[in-house]
């Protein structure tokens, strides 16, 4: 339904095509014109780049390049430096001190004709534009199909409408879908720019962009209204701005430096604000910042004051700014969502008091608990509910055959209890008696209002938790025995204090057995109406399961006070909602016999996720990475580890590397290292998570590994070309390598694009299906 409204392409054009074979010819058309476009600039760039291994840290390399014979295309080097300078301060002039002059001289010495420079700059922008365009084209193509809700969209779409319902009532969905798709499309240029910045190599950037453009998984993910495109957008934006500000490091406190630094902070706040997975990019940026500061700190030419300035700037932009933004989003969130809704039960009583529509909102109740008060008692643990009893007995064989006591999440008359003194049964509401407040440490009796039975416990084992004691309702009209006596205690307060409604955290301790009233959180079987078990636990540990608070409170003899006094402050709300979210996240545990996606499945593209459609008559979308791209990524990580460790060992052994190789290995170790770190940070923590995991959790990591692939193959091909020495052959190898990788990615996309754009017709097991030959793994079921 959401997708349906988010129409982007003309629906008529789509309907004109036969459904089953629709995508193929149209895509072929696009494929055809893809290689045509970049052909000329691409080849130029390839050859130009090849001769010029100018690398970021390569001050030396650039210098040497300057002295190289002009035949290898030093002209491009010059132009690239210029462009780079234009974009982000002068990171070409990274070198400090006297080297600048030398380098400038070297550059001016080789400065090419201005015409070709303009041409190159234009070409470069054109390439970026092309990458962006292609990315947008793939993402927006057939955005409006399928016209129904897919998978997680149910969830996030609903959330979206919650926000919107408060303000607008007309249909605002189409912008949402397009918004997601455009964020998804921006990932590709971001990755392109990041790799360009890290490796200073156009082919590497192009390769990365192609991998991401032609990955069916990224494409599918960004076409739907999910949180992931937004998250990935912020992650990539943070990465890009971090890399940019790193390359502005030679001109600290300049405008671009400040710009990129604060942009990093803003994006971090965005990433964390979307999903907690954003934490990983924060760790990465933090790590980068710490090593950067460590580096500055060790630079003895900088005074401590300067270092202090650096530190303050980073604290401001990377800690204070994101934190402020993050808190601000929450402030907005709480302001917008001030109505009672289905999520109320998860929050504490005090939190609920601020939601309009909730019965605690604007309510006024007596503040202190007194004898004779009618109360409801709520467990402090999330999603346990109110202490409850009803006219049903525990079945035969489950402890004593007395009235059931449970907890129940919904409001109900059976949740009402009367507080009475343990030794008298007189009516405390009798106006002739003075009001007597309940105090911490008092011995009380809780009488169930509807059935007039007392809360009771004894040495029988509880129905589900065998080590605990059973809790029942006992007695007739409030007359029971000494097993009905409970000591009421307020956690962390002195004896003798009064007990406050909502605010006091109380425990009920059974006088005879010494156990504590609690709820185990286990669901009772049918006989208990699937409410939750209440037990008396002999273990006096302070867990939230055994702590309660009083929520409703009715006592005509006491003056009512407004609950607004009790309203929690903003930091308290913030803290509570985070606790609830974390617990909710951890609560998503897989059950036995349930199929769950395992983290080790992901990089090998073991299994996809069915987005919509099951049967052969349905319109099916299947979230699966382009296997060619993914397996190339996997191979690249292994290759990277291998080549990286060889280079690192060689350097540690003090081997003398030729300058070209050294420049390239710097790219590999520094740039590649950052990307590898990103991949690891976004992947390995999932192994530790106990919650349900889905295939799409891997996509942020996949972005990093695609970037790594780009950097790695470009560098490896260059190294390969360099070792072969002969210049014409070398150029050829590099160009052929990159072009074949590009074409391979494009062709595989052509093969697998129905996964993302939707398939109709027989399933792939069927040999008649167009996808029949493409089911390379048995675990893919499209």
């Amino acid at each position: 339904m959401l997708c349906a409204t988010s129409r982007f392409l003309a629906a008529t054009a789509l309907r004109a095509q036969p459904r089953g074979r629709g995508p193929a010819p149209r895509c072929r058309r696009r494929e055809l014109h893809f290689p045509g476009h970049p052909e000329l600039p691409l080849c130029d760039f390839l050859t130009g780049q090849l001769g010029r291994p100018s690398v970021p840290a390569g001050r030396r390399a650039i210098l040497r390049r300057g002295r190289m014979p002009p035949a290898v295309g030093g002209g491009l080097a010059g132009s690239e430096l210029r462009v780079r300078r234009g974009r982000c301060g002068s990171q070409a002039a990274r070198a400090v001190g006297p080297d600048v002059a030398v380098e400038a001289a070297a550059r001016s010495h080789k400065r090419p004709a201005p015409g070709s420079r303009h041409f190159e700059a234009a070409g470069r922008w054109a390439l970026l534009a092309l990458v962006t365009l292609l990315s947008f084209a793939t993402r927006f193509h057939r955005l409006d199909e399928p016209p129904h809700i897919c998978w997680d969209e149910t969830h996030f779409g609903k959330m979206g409408s919650y926000y919107i319902n408060r303000t607008f009532f007309f249909d605002v969905h189409p912008p949402l879908g397009k918004f997601c798709a455009s964020l998804g499309s921006l990932l590709v240029p971001f990755a392109y720019l990041t790799v360009l910045e890290l490796s200073k190599s156009l082919p590497a950037a192009l390769l990365t962009a192609a991998l991401l453009t032609f990955d069916t998984g990224c494409l599918t993910l960004s076409q739907y209204i999910l949180l992931d495109p937004i998250l990935m957008f912020f992650i990539m934006a943070a990465m890009l701005s971090m890399v940019k500000y790193n390359s502005c490091a030679d001109r600290p406190f300049s405008a671009p430096w400040w710009f990129w630094l604060s942009l990093t902070g803003i994006n971090l706040a965005g990433a964390l604000g979307v999903k907690f997975v954003g934490l990983f990019i924060i760790v990465q940026v933090g790590w980068n910042t710490i090593s950067d500061l460590w580096h500055l700190f060790g630079d003895l030419s900088l005074s401590l004051v300067t270092v202090g300035k650096h530190l303050t700037a980073r604290i401001l932009c990377l800690i204070v700014l994101p934190l402020a933004l993050y808190t601000a989003t929450y402030a907005v969130h709480f302001m917008v969502l001030n109505k009672s809704g289905p999520g109320d039960g998860f929050f504490s009583s005090a939190f609920q008091a601020r939601l309009s529509g909730n019965n605690l909102h604007n309510a006024s109740i007596p503040e202190h608990l007194a004898y004779g008060s009618v109360i409801t008692v709520k467990n402090l643990r999330m999603a346990i509910g109110y202490l409850h009893s009803h006219r049903h007995l525990y079945p035969e064989g489950v402890g004593a055959r007395q009235q059931q006591v449970t907890t129940y999440l919904h409001k109900d008359y059976n949740n009402l209890w009367i507080i009475k003194k343990h030794n008298t049964n007189s009516d405390p509401l009798d106006p002739s008696f003075p009001v007597e407040f309940v105090r911490h440490g008092d011995i009380i009796r809780l009488e169930h209002k509807e059935t007039s039975r007392n809360l009771h416990s004894h040495y029988h084992e509880a129905p589900l938790t065998r080590k605990h004691y059973q809790v029942t309702g006992y007695g007739i009209n409030g007359t029971g025995d000494s097993n009905d006596f409970w000591r009421i205690e307020v956690v962390n307060r002195k004896f003798g204090n009064r007990i406050k409604v909502l605010r006091s955290r109380i425990r009920f301790i059974h006088l005879v057995t010494g156990c504590v009233l609690g709820s185990s959180g286990k669901v009772l079987p049918k006989w208990g109406w699937e409410q939750l078990e209440v037990t008396c636990t002999p273990y006096l540990k302070e867990t939230l399961n055994s702590i309660w608070n009083v929520e409703d409170h009715i006592n005509p003899k006491l003056p009512n006070i407004s609950l607004d006094v009790l309203q929690p402050s903003f930091p308290e709300i913030l803290l509570e909602s985070h606790m609830v979210m974390i617990r909710g996240n951890n609560g998503l545990k897989p059950k036995d016999n349930e199929f769950t996606s395992k983290p080790w499945h992901w990089p090998i593209n073991y299994q996809g996720l069915r987005f919509s459609g099951i049967n052969d008559t349905d319109f099916r979308v299947y979230l699966l990475g382009n296997p060619v791209v993914w397996w190339l990524n996997l191979l690249s990580i292994a290759l990277y580890l291998l080549s990286g460790s060889i280079i690192a060992v060689a350097m540690q052994r003090g081997a003398r590397l030729p300058p070209e190789v050294e420049g390239l290995s710097q790219v590999l170790l520094r740039g590649g290292g950052q990307l590898l770190l990103g991949w690891m940070l976004h992947y390995f923590p999932f192994f530790l998570m106990g919650r349900i995991l889905y295939f799409h959790h891997y996509f942020p990591a996949m972005l990093f590994s695609s970037m790594l692939t780009g950097v790695l193959w470009d560098t490896l091909l260059r190294l390969c070309a360099w070792s072969l020495a002969s210049s014409s052959l070398a150029r050829g190898i590099h160009a052929v390598g990159i072009v074949s990788l590009l074409l391979g990615a494009a062709y595989s996309f052509y093969l697998f694009h129905p996964l993302a754009y939707g398939m109709v017709g027989p399933l792939a097991q069927d040999p008649r299906s167009p996808m029949a030959g493409l089911r390379w793994l048995e675990s893919w079921d499209f």
């Binding site: 700190f297 060790g298 540990k541 036995d592 016999n593 069915r610 540690q652 052994r653 530790l688 106990g690």
Partner: protein, 708 residues
């Protein structure tokens, strides 16, 4: 020194006192010792078998026959239990850690004084003593942790002078062996192993950077380390399991959790039944089918006369055909006959015609002769899946759909024969391509609370709950139903035996150990990692049945506090030095700086790796989990003290003052040790007043009798 330690640990009252089962963990380990003695197979998810085997070795040497019921804390040991020798090994390990603490600090190149201090502190730590005197594994783990560290330090020190000498090789190998033993006792040992590996990796990296060594020499160094620190531990670990499996050759209480093939490899139990079964399943074979997943309980495909209720409680309808369930007990209704759809007879031809992968079969329920069937009706509890039933022809428009394609999951060739026990098979329904699956849900009363079996139509890949294997098997001989029923009731017998390889058994056992789940996550004395540092918790191990003599796991609070303080001081000082060095201000001479860093990496690092991971764990935690970390922390204490006295005390006067303080502090620790002594050894019955006086913290749970 060792004698002294021995005296303190062991002799004040001999080990066999208390002659009662103390602590819940003695009960736990004790039952496994009994199993070893009786050579019954068991499965314990708490750790690898080395620790259990060492305890059992003690029992073996003491002549224990395994006949004791380990079920109650405080039960008195009968005379056949050699308490002394059972408790000897942990006590020995605990006593040996004292001289090792000395050695470690000495090998870290600190003074004799500091080394002595470390040993004395370990000596008077009450918690370590309590833990070492009972039949528990922590002290053994600590011993191997320290041994690994000590031998690595020895290795480092002999590295400079005589690499590749005999002692160098000895210490290198010992490092690997000690690491693997630590891992073999508890999985927790992995943390120390990783720490040693990490330090070794850093040192190896420095070696690589050492330009004075030739390439060949560096390669030799690296290879030697890789062999000793990676290969040897793996081999040792396998060895532990090998011995474990050789020892436990009889079927025992946990058989059910293991696969049929594994069970068949044990003496007694399933092996008695399956021994001599025909290997290849043929048309006409009578089989029982066990679900491979085994969760929530291991069970067999089952059917019985009763039908699904017409209308379920929630108002949905059913096919009203005969129920098919999964039943966790052996039963005659678990027998199924494999039938060729093209023929009518239910006996095996001679020669038997084996069933192969991809063949279409029907499964006939032996007792009711109805065919296993599934159709497009929602299953009772999992409405997304198809109902599985035994087909009853009601003559309504619901045809029988009883053809199943056999899919052997672990096949090696495409024409593989279906084998008893060994083959893991899936049954794919021919009409709907649904797969026979155990859903894991318990049916309500109409289904006798057996487990639900469904046809899973949308299978997202492979899952063990869809895989079945033949457990009991025989060739059917009788054509008539009455005869067949008799035949089904009779036990199987035939002529062939088979064995699993060690690696297959090892990997299955290891996998089950890691995935077996203990459900009870609550204990009276469980605590959280945060409680440990401040010693906010204790464990009452034992209370004398009549007097109030009792044993508690309680630390020497002075040592705990000062060790934590020392760690904080160390970290602060390290940061300070690091920052200063970065600005090229060297406060320490190079060699004492290196010493300081190495000591920190091993001791503070050892504390961190043995402590911090507990914050991520979800299992029930106890105070004794902290003891390995604490030991490392105690080692750091004299290191920090000596550093302060050497480098931070500027004058002789300050130095003497500081020494006096240290002595005062140590005597304070001794005093605390002495005060807590009755609770550590449990040899003296204190009056309630004295006990109350010992309850220094509100949270300590000291048992005071009400009526005395």
């Amino acid at each position: 020194m060792f004698c002294w330690a021995w005296f303190l640990r062991v002799s004040p009252l001999h080990l066999q006192l208390p002659r009662w089962v103390t602590s819940f963990d003695e009960v736990y380990y004790g039952q496994y010792v009994s199993f070893y003695m009786k050579r019954l197979f068991f499965l314990d998810g708490s750790g690898p078998p080395l620790g259990h085997m060492l305890l059992a070795l003690g029992g073996y040497l003491g002549g224990f026959d395994g006949n004791f019921l380990w079920n109650r804390i405080g039960a008195e040991y009968s005379s056949n239990v050699p308490v002394w020798s059972l408790r000897l090994l942990p006590a020995l390990a605990g006593a040996l850690s004292v001289p090792m603490a000395y050695q470690i600090v000495w090998e870290l190149r600190f003074s004799h004084c500091a080394a002595m201090g470390a040993a004395l502190l370990v000596l008077i730590e009450n918690a370590l003593i309590t833990q070492a005197r009972l039949m528990l594994l922590e002290s053994v783990l600590i011993f191997f942790n320290l041994l690994a560290m000590l031998s690595y330090l020895k290795l480092c020190n002999s590295q400079k002078h005589r690499p590749f000498s005999l002692s160098w090789w000895f210490w290198l190998t010992l490092t690997g062996v000690a690491c693997s033993c630590a891992v073999g006792i508890k999985y927790m040992g992995v943390f120390t192993y990783l720490l040693v590996l990490g330090v070794a990796a850093v040192h190896a990296w420095h070696l690589i950077g050492d330009r004075t060594l030739s390439n060949v020499c560096v390669l030799c160094h690296l290879l030697a380390r890789a062999v000793a620190l990676l290969v040897i531990p793996v081999i040792m670990y396998l060895l532990f399991f090998y011995v474990h499996l050789v020892l436990l050759c009889r079927s025992g209480p946990h058989d059910q959790i293991m696969s049929s093939a594994f069970q068949a490899s044990l003496e007694g139990g399933l092996a008695r039944i399956t021994q001599g079964q025909p290997l290849e399943v043929a048309y006409g074979s009578q089989v029982t089918l066990r679900n491979v997943f085994g969760k929530p309980v291991p069970c067999w495909l089952h059917s019985h006369q009763n039908t699904y209720p017409m209308i379920y409680e929630n108002g949905r309808g059913s096919s009203h055909q005969q129920q098919v369930t999964c039943y966790p007990f052996k039963d005659v209704n678990n027998w199924w006959i494999v039938k060729d759809p093209g023929r009518h007879q239910l006996v095996v031809n001679s020669p038997p015609r084996p069933v192969r992968h991809g063949d279409i079969v029907q499964l006939v329920h032996g007792m009711t002769t109805r065919l296993l069937n599934t159709h497009d009706v929602a299953a009772p509890l999992s409405p997304h899946s198809q109902e599985v039933s035994c087909y009853i022809d009601y003559n309504i428009s619901m045809p029988a759909q009883n053809l199943w394609r056999l899919d052997i999951v672990n096949r090696e060739s495409s024409t593989e024969v279906w084998k008893t026990i060994l083959s893991e098979v899936r049954f794919v329904h021919v009409n709907t391509s649904a797969i026979l699956k155990l859903s894991g849900a318990h049916l309500p009363d109409w289904g006798f609370r057996q487990l639900e079996v469904v046809g899973e139509k949308l299978s997202p890949g492979y899952h063990e709950s869809m895989v079945w294997n033949v457990e009991e098997h025989r060739y059917g001989r009788s054509q008539e139903q009455k005869e067949r029923e008799l035949e089904l009731h009779s036990p199987t017998q035939m002529d062939l035996s088979r064995n699993l390889s060690f690696m297959a058994r090892f990997s299955e056992l290891q996998w089950r150990m890691l995935t077996v789940r203990s459900d009870d996550s609550e204990h009276k004395y469980s605590s959280t990692p945060l409680d440990w540092v401040t010693l906010d918790t204790n464990i009452a191990y034992w209370l004398h049945p009549t007097t109030s003599a009792q044993i508690h796991l309680l630390g020497n609070i002075v040592i705990w506090a000062s060790a934590s303080l020392a760690t904080v001081v160390y970290v602060l000082l390290l940061c300070w030095y690091l920052l200063r060095r970065r600005r090229s201000i060297c406060d320490l001479p190079e060699d004492s700086w290196l010493r300081w860093v190495l000591a920190g990496a091993l001791c503070a690092g050892g504390w961190a790796v043995n402590y911090l991971p507990f914050f991520l764990m979800e299992k029930t935690l106890f105070l004794y989990h902290y003891l390995p970390a604490l030991t490392f922390q105690i080692l750091l204490l004299p290191v920090v003290l000596q550093h302060i006295s050497d480098h931070l005390c500027r004058s002789q006067l300050q130095r003497s003052l500081f020494s006096a303080l240290v002595v005062a502090w140590y005597s304070c620790a001794c005093h605390v040790f002495n005060t807590l002594r009755p609770l550590t050894y449990g040899d003296k019955s204190l009056s309630p007043g004295e006990l109350r006086a010992l309850r220094w913290k509100e949270s300590w749970d000291i048992l005071i009798r009400k009526h005395q």
